[in-house]
Subunit: 316 residues, 2 copies
């Protein structure tokens, strides 16, 4: 990385060139992208009358988080030869959709959670009625935002993105995964097939949309979209397996202390089906396969490669 002093005496193009030659640092990359996404999200949804609904939508949309979904979308758009500007409205829309799913998932009729990331959930602050409407508002706005704000991309490609976003969040995606998850609650005999269905739909479909939509916006070819789709499916499932592993590890370390996790343990998980060791092996294999899909993109795939590794190496 170049120092602040150097940047003052170099042109922007020179700085970018130097930055490209510097070894890739994932945490710097993620922090930079996260800041860009935060700024874009903040300006995407200004406060206006009736303020209460906008406050509620902004409360959850701007509640922090790693912003991994929008970052994946921006990364694949760049990988496929596009710019951050082309993908930013879709990146924001993906976070709006993700936020909607969290608000509705936290409702008393669903998971009934009072806290998320240490903050009160939307319905605990604004009431259930407003929380339902805030989710609806965010979902509708996501599509409006992509349709209206995407610049420099042929309209046909924007339509493809909208179709993919709709499919990823609807009954053929996230909603379908949640329904099967609800049906399996408290059932420990859930099959591997069903467990895979839940995760490839509940979290995998939207992750895939993030990765593929970025490339669609940049005009990537079908073969590249397929490679990226398989990359996304693999890291999505690996992410979930690692989640399950960390949940068990955490429970063992804090044994007797966290009564809530015992209840959570009534859920079917990969370690329950495979044991811890095989789960770890499977997660690593999925990440290796994900990275193998990116080989043809050469150094342009460095950020996506690093994100794949990040998933298995994380400890929380």
């Amino acid at each position: 990385m170049t120092s602040t002093k150097d940047q003052k005496t170099l042109s922007t193009a020179q700085v970018h060139s130097l930055q490209r030659e510097a070894p890739f640092d994932l945490s710097t990359y993620l922090a930079e992208r996260q800041a860009q996404v935060e700024a874009a999200l903040d300006s995407s949804l200004p406060l206006t009358y009736p303020e209460k609904i906008y406050e509620s939508m902004r409360y959850s949309l701007l509640a922090g988080g790693k912003r991994l979904r929008p970052i994946l979308c921006l990364a694949t758009c760049e990988l496929a030869g596009g710019t951050i500007e082309m993908a930013m409205p879709t990146a924001c829309a993906l976070e709006m959709i993700h936020t909607m799913s969290l608000i509705h998932d936290d409702l008393p009729a669903m998971d009934n959670d009072d806290y998320r990331r240490g903050k009160l959930t939307n319905h605990k602050v604004y009431g259930e009625d407003i929380a339902i409407l805030a989710g609806d508002g965010l979902l509708a706005y996501a599509f409006e935002y992509v349709a209206k704000e995407t610049k420099g991309v042929p309209a046909e490609q924007v339509l493809q993105v909208i179709a993919r976003l709709g499919r990823a969040v609807g009954a053929a995606g996230l909603v379908g995964g949640q329904v099967v998850d609800l049906e399996c609650e408290g059932k420990l005999d859930t099959s591997l097939e069903t467990l895979n269905f839940i995760h490839t739909h509940k979290t995998g479909a939207l992750l895939e949309a993030c990765v593929v939509c970025g490339a669609v916006l940049a005009g990537a070819e079908a073969a590249d979209l397929q490679r990226l789709s398989r990359y996304a499916q693999n890291i999505g499932l690996a992410f979930q397996i690692v989640d399950d592993i960390l949940d068990i590890t955490a429970t063992q370390e804090e044994l007797g202390k966290t009564a809530g996790k015992d209840v959570q343990a009534q859920k079917a998980t990969y370690p329950r089906l495979w044991g811890l060791e095989q789960s770890q092996r499977q997660a690593q294999q999925l990440v290796d396969e994900a990275k193998a899909e990116l080989a043809s993109f050469e150094e342009r795939a460095i950020p996506l490669m690093a994100i794949a590794d990040f998933i298995t190496n994380r400890t929380h």
Copy 2:
């Protein structure tokens, strides 16, 4: 109308020509369009795994009703020189969005209704969790369906439709209207300005989208879109005023019998602000103004003219 016997000996074009010359009959027109919309809706959402969510979505989407929203969309597309086929995916999407708003509106955290059109509400049949997800699924699918299924329309126009649909249902439209409506619950001192805001957003915004999107798909010019937008805003408000009038009339006739309506009467309404007579005059004036907007479309506006009259003349 030509008899069935005549139709057998005439070409389709001749029959259509004869039908055009026959005096326009609104109930025949509405019945024909309704049947087309029902068929399109039925085939838009096939039952697949996980069946429960598709059953829930279909239960409410195919629960009948006048299908006025999709019919308005088809009518303005034809008025502006387009075909029914061009507008049918958007017409279906409008009904999916309307259905989503009804499912979520009926939830215990919102209006808490057990019945709609004589049938149990979605959450009474499938549970609150599934009802929330069914609404989300319908909303997402509406956008996917327009993006994927619209044929014979330039992609830029389809994007415009998607942006308008999103705006009509989000915080700048339906959701915003519902929020202000919730805030005004039990308040009898609601101002005319606020009452207008509620209705132009809660029902008016989607009605306007129906009318304008049909014309956008047909490639109508900005001036025509503005005329149609004013037509829609006027009939939307007239519709609500007539609703309020009928609610009072019905209450008076059935006095003492319907305790539920007394509670409903705690709401701010137009007759409460203006009295019955002025409300009737205002509704008629709005319908007259709506029809005046259509003058330049000449006989192509006959269906929309008739629908405007239908709104003030209805008795239920």
